[in-house]
């Protein structure tokens, strides 16, 4: 196996995967390339059917006919042939299936025997306690959330160097979600493991990841630090006016001077507008002018837009492109 830069936990170059059915061929993953640094928490975002799970399953060798190069933990791998690299990976599948007759401990013991490394099963009990999971009850009587906790146990039971978590918090209540991310962060602080989280819950990626990749229709459209991405995204201005007339005058002014601004929300005396980052200076200047600031504007606040807004922007653009293409074809 070829050695590579050890700073990268995952490196994917030009990965392509087709699904062939009798009627059609679908390009599920279309020439994607990305890398995840060692010790990083990396978010992989995209809506249903974007290619997130296919990418993960390709890396784990569950799919055949993958082209491109994959390197994990410093070694180039062929997921169709190599299996030893999986000794270093803890994995929660997006659609978790567990043997209904077994309980959490039996499942962990069973899966641990499929690895070539040894496990401290006491770790499982500690995590189960924190997640409030009864490890003795068989899977068939557990709720969806509790089954997901069992999935979490199977991924965290060993000192894996890489955790690949596909929708890890599906079915968990907010308190347990928070506890889960706390456990993840503690584990990472202890072992410097790399965490690859695949999700469409943008707030959890925003709160818990260092970097993010956005995948759309099998192609990666953005890879960036969360903070950089938010910098690049639309700016949110929240303005509170003393009167409604002041608000209306301001909106007319804004329409003339900055047509690219959009209103996110509006009430009688307040408004939240989104503007491109390059217009930030202009708007700051406008609100600090005496006419607006002194006479009409009671208060204002500037924020970066949330990851959700940035994410939606990519999809709005895509929808607009599709609409344009449809119009052109007419």
């Amino acid at each position: 196996m070829e050695e590579m830069e050890v700073k990268e936990a995952i490196r994917v170059d030009h990965m392509v995967k087709y699904y062939r059915t009798r009627k059609k061929v679908v390009k599920a993953v279309d020439d994607i390339s990305f890398s995840v640094l060692k010790g990083e928490r990396f978010g992989f975002l995209g809506p249903n059917g974007a290619g997130k799970t296919t990418t993960i399953r390709g890396i784990l060798g569950l799919l055949r006919g993958i082209t491109g190069e994959i390197s994990l933990l410093g070694k180039k791998i062929n997921p169709n042939k190599d299996t030893t690299y999986r000794n270093h990976i803890g994995y929660i599948p997006g659609e978790l299936g567990l043997d209904p007759e077994l309980n959490a401990i039996q499942i962990c013991k069973y899966l641990s025997k499929l690895y070539d490394i040894s496990f401290n099963l006491d770790e499982i009990l500690k995590i189960a306690e924190r997640l409030k999971l009864d490890v003795i009850r068989p899977i068939q009587v557990l709720s969806k959330g509790n089954k997901q906790k069992v999935g979490i146990l199977t991924a965290l039971m060993g000192d894996f160097e890489l955790l690949i978590l596909d929708e890890p918090t599906a079915g968990l209540d907010p308190l347990i979600q928070a506890e889960f991310f706390e456990i993840l962060k503690e584990k990472q602080a202890r072992s410097n493991c790399t965490i690859f989280i695949c999700s469409h819950i943008l707030s959890e990626i925003e709160k818990n990841c260092h970097r993010v990749a956005i995948i759309r229709e099998g192609k990666i459209v953005e890879i960036s630090d969360i903070s950089e991405l938010k910098e690049k995204g639309l700016k949110s201005f929240q303005l509170e006016f003393t009167t409604n007339k002041g608000l209306q005058d301001f909106l007319i002014y804004l329409q003339n001077e900055c047509p690219s601004a959009t209103i996110k929300s509006q009430s009688a005396n307040s408004v939240e507008i989104l503007i491109p980052p390059e217009k930030k200076r202009f708007l700051l200047h406008a609100v600090s002018e005496k006419e607006w600031a002194g006479e009409y504007i009671k208060d204002f606040n500037v924020n970066n837009s949330s990851l959700e807004e940035i994410f939606m922007k990519y999809y709005d653009e895509e929808e607009k492109n599709i609409e344009n293409m449809e119009e052109e074809s007419k």
């Binding site: 699904y19 799970t53 399953r57 659609e95 299936g97 567990l98 499929l114």
Partner: protein
């Protein structure tokens, strides 16, 4: 040994069912033993001789209802594909598809496990189950031969029963392997449906080939039923080289199909 881990968990999960099947088959042997009456069955044999050859073929060919060996072969061993084969065909046809459908396969195959280890591990469960049931049947048969009052004046060669049941073991394994092969690439309905269809086709070809046109007589070689006829050992007492050939063919068929299962499964995607 990961094959062992996979096999063990599957055997544990299914052991109760295997035990139930074993007891059912044991009870069936008990019943066959209890109803065996050499005098009245000799008369029945005279009546059966008047039946058309087609009916005789369906009953398993060579008949000797006046002996326990003959009666046991006709009522039990010749029909074992119904008593036991269908059960294992249904089980094997659903094995891997159900693991894919209930999504448990993702957690297993994402571990450092080769695909062939998974396939062999799952197959071992069937091998063990069939062995267990046949062994249980053999023990019950031997026990009945030893204690049943109506069998005490019968001349019974235990080795013939042993080889007869060994033949049944190889036959059931080959039928199960056929179903298992389809299960590695089809869904459960298709796999069990096709395997069951093939079983019926094998039965029709292997049993009634002699009534087919002379030009297509060789079609009999395609049927597993052609290679399974325990009456040759237990009724005709004829353990010759053709019996060994048939043992080897059934064994070889299973081995080849198992290898084919590994190759096909190794090439396929595991669907979400």
């Amino acid at each position: 040994m990961k094959v062992h881990t996979i096999a063990l968990i599957e055997i544990k999960k299914n052991f109760k069912s295997v035990l139930k099947v074993s007891f059912f088959m044991g009870a069936f042997i008990l019943m066959i033993t209890a109803i065996f009456d050499p005098d009245s069955f000799s008369e029945l044999e005279g009546y059966m001789d008047t039946m058309p050859p087609l009916v005789m073929e369906m009953m398993g060919g060579a008949m000797d209802l006046g002996t326990f060996g003959g009666f046991f072969t006709i009522e039990f061993l010749s029909m074992i594909w119904i008593w036991l084969g269908i059960y294992f065909i249904l089980q094997a046809g659903q094995d891997i598809p159900s693991t894919i459908e209930n999504k448990t396969i993702d957690l297993i195959l994402s571990k450092p496990l080769k695909r062939w280890e998974f396939v062999i591990g799952r197959y071992m469960r069937f091998l063990f189950s069939i062995f267990f049931v046949i062994f249980f049947m053999l023990m019950v048969t031997f026990l009945m031969i030893a204690v049943a009052p109506n069998l005490q004046d019968q001349v019974i060669n235990l080795a013939e029963f042993f080889w007869g049941l060994t033949w049944a073991f190889l036959f059931i394994v080959s039928l199960t392997t056929t179903s298992f092969f389809f299960s590695v690439f089809l869904n459960r309905k298709k796999a069990t449906g096709i395997a069951f269809g093939i079983l019926v086709l094998f039965f029709v070809i292997g049993t009634f080939y002699s009534f087919f046109d002379d030009r297509i007589q060789d079609i009999k070689y395609l049927s597993l039923f052609f290679y399974y006829d325990p009456s040759r050992i237990i009724v005709s007492h004829n353990f010759d080289e053709t019996v060994i050939r048939d043992f080897l063919i059934l064994f070889g068929y299973s081995v080849i199909l198992l290898f084919a299962s590994i190759i096909v499964f190794n090439k396929r995607d595991i669907p979400v």
